[in-house]
């Protein structure tokens, strides 16, 4: 039995191909113009890696922003359920998934079976999403992936009060002009980010174990800041946190064709 999950977001697309018990291949790409194109490309790449053809896939489930427009998907399921499912398969003790993506942020509560219990999303405002970090990285003239490591070495983190990314930019620019240390700036940024995520998380409550998924999970500074605020040690994934959604899709696909009982 071979199944697949395809997650088409607004910035990236992922595909995961699974066999009976294991992941055969996975792929992440930047989106193409049009979700059908993104899905096709990422699936092709994943199939290539696994030395398979599309016909070999018994069932494919799509998820994400573009999920309803994937022609080779038999069905679509929300990225919320998929993230919960995928995270739970990877770490069965997980009960809260905090997904911080490029353009949105979700907090997902699941039960012992990985089933969705409750959730909350922010997909309107850049604050608390990867977008905020991007804007800040530009302002500091560093790479996105440098923010985390820099922040961990801060001695006097600055306090960024602005909620809006645009004003935050002004604030940070002012700090730079004052000669504030880059480490302290990076720490202020990761902290501001974590505060927003924390605020969202409070709405649905946080139960351990907690795992952080999505692109921002790779930012060690944000992760550390969030752990301090939530007062938990989050579980770390051994796979790329961006594929969790597609993985969930594949798992749901498997459930569809496994004999019942």
């Amino acid at each position: 039995m071979i199944v697949a999950g395809c997650d088409v977001g607004s910035l990236t697309a992922e595909a995961v191909i699974m066999g009976d018990e294991e992941v055969l291949s996975s792929e992440i790409i930047g989106v193409r113009p049009g979700p059908e194109q993104s899905a096709q490309d990422v699936m092709d790449k994943a199939l290539q890696k696994a030395h398979l053809a599309l016909e070999d896939i018994d069932y494919c489930i799509s998820t994400g922003y573009g999920r309803e427009r994937i022609p080779f998907a038999r069905d679509n399921i929300s990225e919320i359920s998929c993230h919960g499912k995928g995270a739970h398969w990877l770490i069965p003790s997980v009960r809260t998934v905090i997904d911080v993506g490029g353009q949105d942020c979700k907090v997902i509560r699941i039960d012992a079976n990985g089933k969705l219990q409750n959730f909350i999303m922010n997909d309107k405002c850049a604050a608390g999403t990867g977008r905020f970090l991007e804007v800040m990285a530009k302002t500091l003239e560093i790479r996105l992936d440098e923010i985390g490591p820099l922040s961990l070495l801060a001695k006097n983190p600055v306090v960024i009060t602005s909620m809006c990314s645009i004003y935050a930019q002004t604030e940070v620019a002012a700090f730079i002009a004052e000669g504030v240390d880059q480490h302290d700036l990076a720490a202020g940024i990761t902290r501001a980010m974590a505060e927003r995520v924390n605020s969202l998380a409070m709405r649905v409550g946080v139960e351990e174990d907690v795992v952080i998924t999505g692109g921002v999970a790779k930012n060690t500074g944000v992760v550390k800041s969030l752990e301090t605020m939530l007062r938990v040690n989050t579980k770390k994934l051994t796979v790329d946190p961006q594929i969790v959604g597609a993985l969930g899709g594949a798992l749901f696909a498997r459930e569809k064709i496994l004999p019942k009982g």
């Binding site: 399921i77 919320i80 359920s81 969705l116 409750n118």
Partner: protein
């Protein structure tokens, strides 16, 4: 289903063929906002009461000239409709103090007209409401209603008689009873009418002559009793901010659910309570409107609202309740927090949905959330 279409079609636009033919025959139309204005007094004057809605607006650029950034988009769409001429058929309009957003339509519409950006109906009134119930509040409301009647009589050269009011009560109570019957059908295990259709039927009740409406709805109910019902889908209830847009319900039902109940002001709350037919008709009319299932604008009445929501959820055997509010709607947004807490405590799953009304409506966001919710309650 021709009868059904006839009763849902007027809900998709503002003006409709009934309004047009009413006017062609020389009839007058008075628009009103919300559920607290006693329609019967307008009907008794021989004038068509028309509930002002926000649908059809595709932008809010003129409204933004008069309203700040944190104003409810439904209210902005109402003003935009006025600016775009879609309310030109109104001979009058009565704006109620139902909420902070709605009451400022009274100021903004007049100003927009002064600036030449909208046509102001020749008869334009404000209907003030108290916020909590008491003997003196009812007295105040009686005085306010009598003032409104006098203004209407003066302007339109009509008379509102006791006889006229009694007759109006009969007609309106009939509408209410028919709609109650419709909602009873929705409680069945096999639901013969979708939520989208039901909302359409309710919205239509607010924009056409009640006599004709009652006839049509009665016929439709006879058909619906025999119609094959929907089963096997998650049953939802919707609670929250004003919604006259059937697309919102369609969005939810397209995802595989069926909406079987609500506590909405284009919904159960606008027809649930009848007017007492014995006693002074103006008194009983005002009392009914004042004391009907309250909008969250009535302070200290949460438990009354909650009992209604919970009872309806139970009798509808709903699998989940969608608590929606338009962005910036503090009244429903705050109530929804309490509803969520109390419903979940009783084992009824809920979904909080903060949304935008009207143009630029965020259907993608809504679909993701509702779909996830259905996955959650699906089992």
């Amino acid at each position: 289903m021709e009868l059904m279409e006839k009763l849902v079609e007027p809900a998709k636009t503002l003006s409709n063929s009934y309004v047009e033919s009413w006017r062609e025959k020389g009839g007058k139309v008075i628009g009103y906002s919300g559920t607290y204005i006693p329609e019967e007094i307008i009907y008794a004057a021989g004038i068509l009461p028309y509930r002002i809605g926000g649908r059809e607006a595709t932008k809010v650029t003129i409204a933004d000239m008069y309203f700040g950034p944190v104003i409810c988009n439904f209210v902005k769409c109402v003003l935009e409709n006025a600016a775009d001429g879609r309310f030109d058929f109104l001979d009058g309009a009565i704006i109620t103090y139902e909420c902070d957003h709605m009451r400022r339509i009274f100021d903004a519409w007049r100003r927009a007209a002064k600036d030449g950006n909208a046509r102001l109906p020749a008869f334009f009134q404000y209907y003030g409401l108290p916020h909590s119930r008491s003997e003196h509040a009812t007295e105040l409301l009686m005085t306010e209603t009598q003032r409104l009647i006098k203004e209407m009589e003066k302007h339109f050269g009509v008379e509102v008689t006791e006889e006229g009011l009694r007759n109006a009560i009969k007609v309106y109570n009939k509408t209410r009873q028919l709609l109650r019957k419709l909602y009873e059908l929705r409680e069945k295990d096999e639901v013969p009418v979708t939520g989208t259709e039901a909302l359409g039927i309710v919205v239509t009740s607010t924009v056409m002559p009640k006599d004709e409406y009652n006839k049509q709805l009665e016929k439709l109910l006879d058909e619906l009793v025999k119609r094959k019902g929907i089963t096997g889908r998650p049953r939802l209830m919707i609670v929250g901010s004003v919604n006259d847009d059937i697309e919102l319900v369609k969005l939810m039902e397209d995802l595989g659910a069926v909406v079987v109940a609500d506590s909405l002001c284009y919904g159960a709350r606008c027809f649930w309570n009848l007017v007492e037919e014995n006693g002074d008709p103006l008194q009983t009319i005002v009392t009914r409107y004042w004391e009907h299932i309250p909008c969250p604008r009535m302070y200290g009445e949460y438990s009354r609202r909650y009992s209604f929501v919970r009872d309806i959820a139970r009798s509808g055997k709903v699998d989940g309740v969608i608590l929606e509010n338009i962005r910036f709607c503090d009244l429903h947004g705050t109530d929804n927090t309490l509803y969520g807490r109390d419903l979940e405590a009783e084992g009824i799953p809920t979904l909080r949905l903060e949304r935008q009304y009207g143009p630029l409506a965020d259907s993608g966001r809504l679909r993701t959330r509702v779909q996830a919710f259905l996955e959650r309650i699906g089992g």
